[in-house]
């Protein structure tokens, strides 16, 4: 039973990481998330690609998972260590200022979303700036390219 479960999982994981490496090039496509990352970090919000925050931000976030933007998102220590390792290894470039905890506070985020009106952000189907998938229809697959961008009207 254990063996049977290993094989498909390894296959899926390998595919996911393979895609990830190939897709990073254009800056908006990060490939399918690692399955553990998806499971642990993709239930309440999109499993944000680690590339979207610098390593210092990920370290700060993982140091405070028991109060993660008001909810207790703590995971078992060994899993947290593996997730942080994954985040730091794939993190974005360091920033000069205090590393933000929110992707929506990154300068590139503000620049890329400066044409989005408050009315759009406030739509019920958007709900919050954390809800990438409201417009980035393939965010769950790690694809934030304009090709799959559909802003609700």
């Amino acid at each position: 039973m254990t063996t049977l479960k290993w094989i498909p999982l390894l296959a899926v994981t390998t595919t996911g990481l393979g895609l990830s490496a190939a897709a990073v090039a254009d800056g908006h496509r990060f490939g399918a998330p690692d399955p553990t990352w998806q499971d642990e970090c993709g239930s309440c919000h999109v499993a944000y690609p680690p590339q979207l925050l610098p390593a210092a931000s990920w370290r700060a976030l993982f140091a405070g998972l028991d109060d993660h933007f008001g909810t207790d998102a703590a995971v078992a220590q060994d899993i947290a260590a593996a997730l942080l390792d994954h985040a730091v290894s794939n993190a974005g470039r360091p920033v000069e200022s205090e590393p933000p905890l929110r992707i929506s506070e990154m300068r590139w985020f503000l620049r890329e979303h400066d044409e989005v009106s408050p009315a759009t952000w406030n739509k019920p189907e958007v709900g919050s700036q954390a809800n990438c998938a409201a417009c980035h229809t393939r965010a769950e697959q790690g694809d934030f390219s304009e090709r799959y961008l559909e802003i609700p009207r």
Binding site: T13, C44, A82, H86
Partner: protein, 133 residues
Amino acid sequence: MAARILVTAALMVAGSVLAASPADLLAPLQQQAHRDDAAFAGFSAARGRAFFAARHGGKWSCSSCHTTDPRQGGRHAATGKVIAALAPSANPKRLRDPAKVEKWFRRNCKDVLERECTAAEKGDVITYLMSLN
């Protein structure tokens, strides 16, 4: 790094045992509920429904994210992320993995009640979710 996260994932999946059906989740909760309270007289879908909709003195209820009809999909109250339906009749993937069920009761009960749920409360909610056709 990739190898490490992958091994962790594999161990997690190998370590979890899928329940044959949502009803299988109830037996251990029932035993615990009896240990907690000798007068425990069984789970109740009606009590589960009321518990699910109540705010318990805080900001959120279970319904805040899962709606008052758990056969429908909901939205995360803070992030807006779409959440798949919770009732097994609408979403057969739900209530199958005891470890996952425990994990989400632990997390979500802390969000709603600022404490972990008792075995009796969990059993009532599962019984309620199973009663929805």
